[in-house]
């Protein structure tokens, strides 16, 4: 065994390198190999590289990705991101613990088959709550589905590759096309299975139609979605398609070349004539022509700049990208306008950084441009650590060429020499797409020496972030690329002056870069026509939570919260009341429904105590507890604090402790005051943006929902979320079906057929199973 490790590690070191900055890639490769970091492997690394024991430990224990203990064969990652949290992720987590019979303090089951972990946002928020078992993602979970899912995983894991390379067989000059989205949400919702079924159906029926795998279609909680294009026109969109239904859908639109199937087709038409609205069972057909359908409502309010050609474009189809004006802006930047012109256009467009703070992009480019150095770097920040956001992931997965183009243009404008993508390792598909896209660009001389025969040379590499929210902060990001813990450093000096390896460095957010080519191609005015006085253009949001339709949306700056929630999102699901939106994730705040007419732009949000942040937009309804929301974010930030400075390291933890106390009903008036004071101190005393903004969720809920805090002090949780303050009870409506009794994992309900059931409070563990299963809603929360 020892010998084995030595050989493997030596191989990895040979491939990755021996310098200190290779520590993260080396660790990632080791973990890939062993599923954790065996101590012997790390010792070997220290023996054979410049990496010291101190460094390897400091780094490997900093990032969430790395595991030091041997793990079960399969890893179950329960997403506890914001959207999943508000949809009951913790209940699901507890259900997994029960199903795997995990003992307290132990995360691996007795057979070492599964290890259970929590992760922050898998980027599939629209199908929350989400769980990933190895590479397979399951969405829309409930506690009762947990045992089935474990079973399903065990029986299916062989043939479940997340994304397969597909070469459509019938591509020659076809007018007809079937489009299927293969973004992460889509895949998680089963679109690979749908795609497989689609191909099988086409094959079996000898139908000549082009199957086109497009990136994220934006309407993530309606996926898998199939769009039928006939005679170059969209004729139908099917949402929430299940594999079993594919055959029926295909055969409805395309005639089978196989006589055998005729009978089946006739039957199909017959069924459809009967109930159009309910066919097929779970999928609905919308005609995009009709303006008042939910899909068009969802899509029509949006303007696509970062997401231009959404649902049409194939992420890695270089020719198609070219056809759709791809690299036109690059050519213009290389051959028609000067670097100074580029910066001037970007500045004039009013584009502000989409990474959170909204710093004017043109100004930043000027700073880097004017810094004197023979080497300069461009970094695309794709760390996206906000646990309720997935825009950057979608952009990286679906529009890799556009982002690359933006980066090259930035490089021309600033005379940069090297580019770098910094992408979270959890974003497997994004990493894969970008890696492939970079390779394609090199092949076409879009990257490399003398790009497109100009005298400009530039290339881009990719660095996989190892899981630390703080590494989205630019100075921490740089530290991690240099092979260190993600400790931010004091600014000034800013990266534009002294960045990666001490050289001037331009760091922009993924979305910022994805707007660049559009602006250069269409003019600054075309961009700044849209938006508000100080916030121009559009903004991409990850809309999730309690809305009917969630997904990736791109709307003009200045669109109101109400328009997003009610029109695009279709209002609140399940007939509940709209309570608030949480914007900006852990650094942001809540905007109550009463203020829903606030236009979304940098300034308005800040003045309302929220923040644009990354653009996560989680909608909350009346069953959400605002104290719990504050506690949720604080538990995230205190866990993600790098630990360097006093106020953040200790302040955030102490705030969480006070919130825990309040949520458990043991708080007092003084605790609310103490919480508020500590929040203000932490804001004032922290050294970087994480600590400075971590108190925002607390301060904003305190200012709008102080009454809820007070309710907790007096023993009740108005949203019915805080376990210590709620009770499950069965009302007179009970029909005695015994379902709850069968489900209850704690034996708190005795089965009494046809009688009124009763919950023994002392035994109840508040897992919500009974309420989920009751067919007549007789189980209520008190």
């Amino acid at each position: 065994m020892k010998k084995d490790i030595t050989a493997i590690v030596d191989g990895i070191v040979a491939a990755k390198g021996k310098t200190v900055n290779k520590v993260i890639p080396v660790l990632q490769a080791i973990q890939q190999e062993f599923n954790y970091l065996p101590s012997a492997a790390l010792e070997r690394v220290c023996e054979t590289t410049e990496i010291s024991p101190s460094r390897i430990f400091s780094v490997s224990t900093f990032y969430t990705q790395f595991r030091h203990q041997e793990q079960g064969k399969h890893i179950i990652s329960v997403c506890v991101g914001t959207a999943c949290h508000v949809k009951g992720a913790m209940l699901v987590y507890d259900a997994f613990r029960r199903a795997l019979k995990l003992k307290d303090g132990c995360d691996t089951d007795a057979d070492s088959l599964f290890t259970l972990t929590k992760v922050a946002c898998l980027g599939c928020c629209t199908i929350a709550p989400v769980v990933q078992i190895d590479d397979i993602t399951y969405g829309m979970l409930t506690t009762e589905k947990v045992p089935e899912i474990i079973q399903d995983f065990l029986s299916n894991r062989q043939d479940n590759t997340s994304v397969r390379k597909h070469q459509p067989k019938h591509t020659a000059n076809l007018k007809d096309e079937i489009r299927i989205g293969l973004g992460s949400c889509c895949v998680a919702s089963g679109s690979s299975a749908v795609r497989d079924e689609l191909e099988k159906t086409l094959e079996n029926n000898s139908i000549a139609v082009n199957v086109k795998q497009v990136g994220c279609v934006g309407i993530c909680n309606q996926v898998p979605m199939i769009e039928i294009i006939k005679d170059n026109k969209s004729t139908a969109i099917y949402t929430k398609v299940m594999a079993e239904e594919v055959r029926k859908i295909v055969l409805k639109h395309f005639k089978s070349g196989n006589i055998f199937n005729e009978a089946g087709n006739r039957l199909l038409n017959y069924i459809e004539d009967l109930v159009v609205d309910h066919f097929p069972v779970s999928s609905r057909k919308y005609s995009p022509e009709k303006r008042d359908t939910p899909v068009s409502e969802y899509l029509n309010r949006q303007i696509n700049i970062a997401t231009e050609h959404r649902g049409i474009i194939r992420p890695l189809d270089f020719e198609e990208y070219m056809k759709l004006d791809g690299f036109v802006a690059l050519k213009k930047s290389l051959f028609e306008i000067s670097p100074g012109d580029i910066t001037a256009i970007i500045k004039h467009s009013g584009l502000r950084g989409r990474g959170g703070a909204g710093f004017p992009t043109g100004v930043k480019w000027e700073l880097v441009k004017s810094a004197v150095s023979d080497e300069k770097y461009i970094i695309c920040n794709g760390d996206e650590g906000d646990p309720g956001a997935f825009m950057d992931r979608m952009l990286l997965e679906s529009y890799p060429f556009r982002i690359i183009e933006g980066m090259i243009i930035a490089a021309i404008a600033t005379a940069a020499t090297q580019g770098l993508f910094y992408i979270r390792a959890e974003y497997k598909l994004a990493v894969k797409q970008i890696t492939a896209a970079l390779e394609i660009c090199r092949k076409h001389n879009i990257l490399g020496e003398n790009i497109l025969n100009s005298n400009f040379s530039f290339d881009i590499t990719l660095f996989e972030g190892a899981g630390a929210f703080i590494c989205g902060e630019e100075s921490a990001l740089i530290a991690s690329v240099e092979g260190d813990r993600g400790f931010p450093s004091l600014r000034p000096p800013y990266p534009s002056e002294k960045g990666l390896w001490g050289k001037p460095t331009l760091i922009n957010n993924t979305e910022t870069f994805s707007m660049v080519s559009w602006i250069i191609r269409n003019s600054a005015e075309a961009f700044n026509n849209t938006g508000t006085l100080h916030s121009k253009g559009t903004k991409v949001f990850a809309l999730a939570g309690k809305v009917k339709r969630g997904g990736l949306i791109e709307v003009p700056m200045g669109t109101t919260v109400r328009e997003i929630v009610e029109e695009i999102g279709g209002g609140i699901a399940n007939g509940r009341m709209f309570k608030a939106v949480q914007i900006g994730g852990p650094s942001g705040g809540c905007i109550p429904a009463s203020m829903a007419d606030i236009p979304i732009d940098f300034e308005s949000l800040s003045s309302a105590g929220a923040m644009m942040g990354s653009g996560g937009l989680v909608v909350l309804d009346d069953t959400d507890c605002m104290v719990d929301i504050a506690r949720y974010f604080l538990s995230f930030t205190q866990d993600q604090s790098c630990g360097k400075c006093t106020f953040c390291r200790i302040g955030t933890r102490k705030m969480l402790e006070i919130l825990n106390k309040i949520c458990s009903g043991k708080g007092s008036e003084q605790d609310i005051v103490a919480l508020e004071q500590l929040a203000l101190k932490t804001q004032k005393g922290s050294l970087c943006g994480l600590g400075k903004t971590a108190p925002n969720p607390v301060l904003s809920t305190l200012s709008y929902y102080r009454n809820e805090y007070e309710a907790h002090i007096h023993g009740s949780c108005p949203g019915g979320k805080c376990k210590d303050l709620i009770k499950y009870e069965i009302t007179e409506d009970c029909i005695g079906c015994t379902k709850c009794a069968q489900r209850c994992p704690a034996d708190a309900i005795a089965a009494k057929p046809h009688e009124l059931h009763l919950i023994v409070q002392e035994k109840c563990i508040k897992c919500d199973s009974c309420r989920e299963v009751c067919p007549v809603n007789a189980v209520i929360l008190k």
């Binding site: 010291s52 630390a468 630990g643 006093t646 005393g685």
Partner: protein, 509 residues
């Protein structure tokens, strides 16, 4: 050169100066903790914070460089409050006793663990010296002290408190048998005279300390011998012999006893520079008004302590009052400001079950020893050494140099401010008898990591984890010896707290 304003003073400093240095150049001392001039490191503790008035931001002066036109506040109430906040947060995550709980609960603040260590080593003479720094009458107290210290002793949780009182008695008895009493060194003669009225516990205690401070002392006692209320005690409680020895020691030390003489403070004041009334419960005089600050009366130069002011039952409290009153008399006579404020103490409640073994690493697992010759005669030398070894060494190894303690004291920080969830569990690691590492005293400054990085041959330290749970540990579970070896002294000197401390600080001083 760069021009800026610090505390409204315009100054010019070289490019690249930190604000800390800039302030120092005009004599403004900003406190630091995580900063060390010789070691390049990041700012973290925020105790050195100053306010950038233009931006309204609080910034660490040890790292932020002065820039043109800056306007900095170092000493406003806001800045002071900010530093206190930082300290209070650090203290909320700090587990340790600056002074041992026994010492804190001793009204006379005797350095008990230090005494215990010396007894354990067989150095009884030095042990008595430590005792006598705070307690003038150890022999008497050895018989009659109600020993609140033993009630607070951490060892109480395991096989009974250390027999502190018996140990102290033992050192005093050893001394009394030695033939030449230990007499502490006196400060230079002041040529000032103090009259002490009453030779009871408080008066005798004050006399001892006044003599030590270089005053000449006349003790007026209305009875024929010293002792005051002690004279009422039965022989099997306090043998007369003991009182006799203690008086003899004082006389040898220079006290002048004037027995059978009842005097009135107001009358004799003219003959003395100061008068201290310690005449006990039954000698109240209507002409005297005791309502002054501390131990002073409304009458200039006249002080009072003990039961004459307000009845005091506990003997050790009278001993303590005598000491404090002597300090006040000294302050009055020397014109020094009186300094008897209690220093900041980091504290924590009971030891957790799992901490007991940790604490026992520095002790023995023995049961509390009962003196074989009976409680009145006390321990034999062997018993005393064995009992003293039971002491857990609760006091901090850097109690007098720790920056966290000094700053907390300076800023009046309260440790209990953020007491919400359960505290962390104490751990201790030893590098032989060279160094002790106590992670729960670490403020995560990283100085030790940086120092060890410069020693390529050593395993060094690493940060483990992040956020609140971040701590410092040796990679690969290697020993402290491999991690630090010869760099121990360097790390100990740099560590701002006692997280890294000399195993035996006293011997090296």
């Amino acid at each position: 050169m760069i021009k800026l304003k610090i505390d409204n003073i315009e100054i010019t400093v070289p490019q690249g100066s930190t604000l800390l240095k800039a302030a120092a150049a005009i004599g403004i001392q900003i406190p630091v903790m995580c900063h060390n001039e010789k070691i390049p490191n990041h700012a973290s503790c925020m105790v050195c914070a100053v306010k950038n008035k233009q931006k309204g931001e609080f910034i660490p002066s040890c790292e932020v460089k002065a820039t043109e036109g800056m306007d900095i506040d170092c000493n406003t109430e806001e800045v002071t409050a900010f530093r206190k906040d930082a300290l209070e947060l650090l203290l909320s995550d700090h587990v340790g006793d600056c002074e041992a709980p026994c010492r804190i609960s001793c009204p006379s603040f005797m350095d008990i663990p230090r005494m215990n260590r010396l007894i354990a080593q067989g150095n009884f003479k030095k042990a008595l010296e430590i005792v006598k720094e705070e307690i003038a009458l150890p022999l008497i107290l050895g018989y009659i002290c109600s020993a609140p210290c033993e009630n607070a002793c951490r060892r109480k949780q395991m096989e009974g408190a250390v027999s502190i009182c018996q140990l102290k008695k033992f050192t005093a008895l050893e001394d009394s048998k030695s033939g030449s009493y230990y007499l502490p060194e006196k400060l230079p003669e002041t040529n000032k005279k103090v009259a002490v009225i009453g030779a009871g516990i408080a008066g005798l205690s004050a006399t001892f300390h006044l003599l030590k401070m270089g005053y000449s002392c006349s003790v007026f006692e209305k009875n024929a011998k010293a002792g005051g209320s002690l004279l009422n005690l039965a022989e099997e409680v306090l043998p007369a012999e003991i009182l006799h020895i203690e008086t003899a020691i004082l006389r040898q030390f220079g006290a002048e006893f004037i027995f059978n003489t009842a005097v009135n403070a107001l009358d004799i004041k003219k003959d003395f520079d100061a008068v201290l009334i310690a005449s006990g419960e039954n000698t109240k005089d209507a002409a005297l008004d005791f309502s002054g600050d501390g131990f002073s009366t409304v009458h200039e130069g006249i002080f009072a302590c003990g039961s004459v002011v307000k009845t005091v039952k506990m003997a050790v409290k009278l001993v303590a009052q005598g000491k404090q009153a002597a300090a006040e008399v000294d302050a009055f006579l020397s014109g020094k400001s009186q300094q008897y404020a209690v220093q900041f103490n980091s504290k924590f409640a009971k030891l957790k079950e799992e901490e007991i073994a940790t604490y026992l690493m520095e002790s023995t697992a023995e049961d509390r020893i009962d003196p074989s010759q009976g409680r009145l005669d006390g321990f034999t030398a062997i018993e005393a050494m064995a009992e003293a070894q039971r002491c857990l060494r609760c006091d901090c190894r850097k109690a007098s140099t720790c920056k966290l303690r000094i700053r907390s004291d300076q800023y009046g920080a309260q440790q209990s401010k953020y007491k919400i969830a359960e505290r962390k569990t104490i751990r201790k690691y030893f590098q032989q008898d060279i160094l002790v590492y106590e992670p729960e005293k670490c403020i995560k400054c990283g100085l030790c990591i940086k120092i060890l990085e410069t020693h390529n041959d050593l395993t060094g330290f690493a940060y483990i984890g992040r956020g609140f749970d971040m701590h410092i540990a040796v990679p690969f579970d290697k020993s402290l010896q491999l991690a630090i070896a010869g760099a121990a002294a360097e790390c100990i000197a740099a560590c701002p707290t006692a997280a890294l401390a000399d195993f035996n600080p006293e011997e090296n001083h």
